[in-house]
């Protein structure tokens, strides 16, 4: 009983410390969505607790994603045509900058990332004074075989090409400052955005870290395909040999 109380007290102090360090800082969550009506409500409701504002970028969904986002208090920005993940994230981050964001959190709208892990990422971001923190998934049995193989390949590929240290290069769960965003603003409009962000960070010699997060997959047919994998590899080679 006493131990339980001590652990609760420790957690409370930790949260107070986390809240203090983020005082006055405007935290925005960017959720890019494309036909994500199934899990969006839950994601927004959970995310609300940890951020000042949620921006949902609807990439021309044909379902009720926009409506659900609006009903649950998120600010919705809609693309008139489907542009891809990278373009949606860029639109969301540009909007956040326009609205005066200090800290930007990106997470998926399909429930792949648990918003309850935001404080953990923010804590690392503040305590270690990093430019960006990635939520790193474990390549365990929860990850479908094809995705696991692809992720492992990209881990090795980016290590070889750019000497990156991150294990999960394709993660979409990130915390970074608006200043960092200005430095790493990407060109990719598709799934290659994750690799481009990491490469830009390496090139600008920014400090980055990672925090272990849960591996959640609700739908094996969504997300990156083998074709996207080829596009990502192509983008990485382009970035390697066409230095800006």
């Amino acid at each position: 009983m006493e131990n339980d109380f001590k652990s609760l007290e420790k957690k409370r102090k930790g949260f107070e410390k986390f809240s203090d360090s983020n005082k006055k800082k405007k935290i925005f969550a960017i959720i890019p969505v494309y036909n994500e009506e199934k899990y969006l409500k839950e994601v927004i409701e959970k995310t609300k607790k940890y951020v000042d504002e949620i921006i949902v970028v609807d990439d021309a969904s044909s379902d009720l994603s926009s409506k659900i986002a609006k009903e649950n208090g998120a600010r919705v920005i809609r693309h008139v045509v489907n542009l891809g993940l990278g373009a949606s994230l860029k639109t969301g981050c540009d909007a956040a900058l326009k609205l005066g964001a200090d800290i930007i959190i990106t997470l998926d709208g399909d429930g792949q990332h648990d918003p309850d892990e935001i404080p953990k990422l923010l804590k690392k971001f503040n305590e270690e004074k990093l430019d960006i923190v990635f939520g790193e998934r474990c390549f365990d049995e929860n990850m479908p075989f094809v995705k696991k193989t692809g992720n492992k390949f990209f881990d090795k590929f980016s290590k070889k090409l750019f000497n990156t240290k991150l294990k999960d290069t394709q993660t979409g769960f990130r915390v970074f400052s608006s200043e960092t965003y200005k430095k790493i603003r990407w060109e990719s409009s598709d799934y290659a955005v994750a690799s481009e962000i990491l490469i830009n960070i390496e090139r600008k010699k920014l400090n980055y870290g990672s925090e272990k997060i849960k591996t959640i997959y609700h739908d094996n047919h969504k997300g990156t395909t083998i074709i996207d994998g080829i596009k990502i590899a192509n983008k990485m080679l382009n970035l390697k040999f066409n230095k800006k």
């Binding site: 920005i77 809609r78 008139v80 860029k90 639109t91 409009s189």
Partner: protein, 109 residues
């Protein structure tokens, strides 16, 4: 003697010249495009009609049959066009992205 492939080839080239001209008249393609495509079709026409004369120069360019020459030329033209179209598609994608993103950001108040 007229070969079947000559007839098919000539009919194809004439149809393509007609469509090129039609598109030009409808102002769907520019004068430069009209001349480019017309030149391409006329070159094809001559290659088909005078394939026997081409036979004479084949040993000099180390090609055995006239059909091989046509295949090589066709591939060269096709790959060049694919590259050109790829460039245009990429450029258009970029433009569409810029327009769609700026429209979306206009909604921010």
């Amino acid at each position: 003697m007229v070969y079947t492939f000559e007839i098919i080839g000539i009919v194809f080239v004439l149809v393509m010249i007609y469509f090129t001209y039609l598109n030009y008249k409808r102002k769907e393609i520019s004068k430069i495009n009209f001349f480019f495509w017309s030149t391409l079709w006329i070159a094809g026409f001559f290659l088909i009609v005078f394939h026997k004369s081409i036979n004479k120069i084949l040993p000099e360019i180390q090609i055995v049959r006239v059909m091989d020459l046509y295949m090589i030329l066709s591939f060269l033209v096709l790959f060049s066009l694919i590259f050109y179209i790829f460039k245009i598609v990429k450029r258009n994608e970029k433009k569409i992205e810029e327009i769609a993103r700026s429209l979306a950001l206009k909604e921010i108040k």
